[in-house]
Amino acid sequence: MIESFETIDFALVNWSRGQFAMTAFFHWLFIPLTIGLTYIVAITQTFYVKTGDSEWERISKFWARLFVINFAIGVGTGIILGLEFGTNWANYSWIAGDIFGAPLAAEAMMAFMLESTFIAVMFFGWGKLNKKFHLLSVYLTAFGATLSALWILVANAWMNYPVGMEFNPVTARHEMVDFWAVLFSPFAVNKFLHTVGSCMVIASFFVIAVSSWYLLKKRERLLSGRSIVIAAVFGLLSSVYVAATGDGSAYNVAQHQPAKLAVMEGLFDGEENAGLVAAGILSPGKEIGDTKKDFIFKVEIPGMLSFLGYRDINAFVPGINDLVYGNEKHGIMSAQKKMQRGKLALEALAQYKEARATGDQELMEKHHASFKKHYPYMGYGHLHAPEDIATYIPLIFYSFHIMVMIGFALIVLAALFLYLIVKNRLEKFKWLLHIGIWSFPIAFIASMTGWIVAEVGRQPWTIQGLLPTMISTSNISSGAVITTFWVFATVLSVLLIAEIRIMRNAIIKGPAKQKGGNNV
């Protein structure tokens, strides 16, 4: 019999979540340029090495300078996140540490070593090293930055699709049994490709934004023109690539996180030949299980959701109500049944622990077998109500659709910029140059809303189906978390203001007039 004995401090849970979200938000303001801009520097530097045209080197150095500013100020913002796992999420860290720690360790050893070594070669070796070796150092910096993204995204993907591990009831933690399953899980592969692609999109539109500003000011026309060509091609290819990998994401989510997909689409009642909502407004105050209309209005692409989720235009896509209350016809277990099985798993674990304490081997094996049978629903045993499996519906629905709309708009924008710059007509369209300037923060909004879909959409879980967020926190005071929340917010805001000011000054000052010399 499981006894209730403690209360959860939801102030602690919510402030811990808020702190992680806030620090991750600030961290993500710097990372896309760190990853994406190195590729643009590498491409422009490649043109210099191939053609010997010193203007390409001047262009390369200018973007490298902006990269340095972003890197110097942004590096280390991820340290806080790493520390937070231990301080604010100690329960999660213990339960998942054997799997979570490995990618983070790999990130530090491989990626940071590679990135930090070749960044130094890149910055300090300009004009001093053999051209081809220097170019190689730029590519290795880009590779290092990408590699560090790989490992952290593998760790994050595991939270959404936990594989390659077994739960050890003696130590109360998951233990990795298959590293390759974790590394090459479809979630990890797709998340990595999609996220790195988004960094390239953001960097491309950063270059377009700065170059557009120069063109409006009638400055640096050759630098801007060439940069826009590079960035528009890079941006167009990466935007299309992000859309394609987004399709992969939707497929994975449909297979393994059907509640998240239903929330993303505001799909309350499942359908065959389910349409994809292109645009829509949810009915305010709509609750799970009520009879209110789902939408005030919506525009759908018929059959598209079934195709995206199941590669079959006639496939049944479960809605929120199906997943919460069950659907016998389509073999969908209700959340209530999962909660019952989860409670059986927790009870079996408690009885296993008691049997182990008394040394009763037979009982231990019996309860261990029962635990293993109901283990996939372990996390559900903690939920208060079946409706808890689908939360924050308006936030996730609107975030998803904002991300998709902006994503497709950026494809059109990149194509337009490319066409007009190649035809040498871009400067005539001043309104488009103004849009180009705004495309950079708008690209960031798409990226941030994507993270909201991924991370808030995973709630109520820290580990999908196995560990709810509310029991993942540390046993510390909420006051300590609130204090550090505001300390971090202040420090990170100061860094952000410094970045914006230094970056702005560097852009206003423009690239170096002289050829050769250092790049800072």
């Binding site: 004995f5 300090f124 409670k343 509310m470």
Partner: protein, 88 residues
Amino acid sequence: MQHRITNIPERIFRIAAEVVQHIYGIFRNSKTARLLFLILVIKLSIFYGFFKSYWFPVHLEPKWESEQHQIDEVTERIINTPKNNHDD
């Protein structure tokens, strides 16, 4: 042959000195480089020097007497359903 061998440390030292001088020259001539380096030093001092070395271990580190204590506490939280498992 001996002449070449004894020259190697001298050559390495000379190359290292050139690299250091080169880097020093960059910082000497660029205000931006100095500013970024200063921000880097201050920031890493705050993160590693203050937060990681003092604040987190002293004020935020969960306190367990041993690994078994941690296992027992985590197991208790997993096994037992709290009275309030819903944020009202």
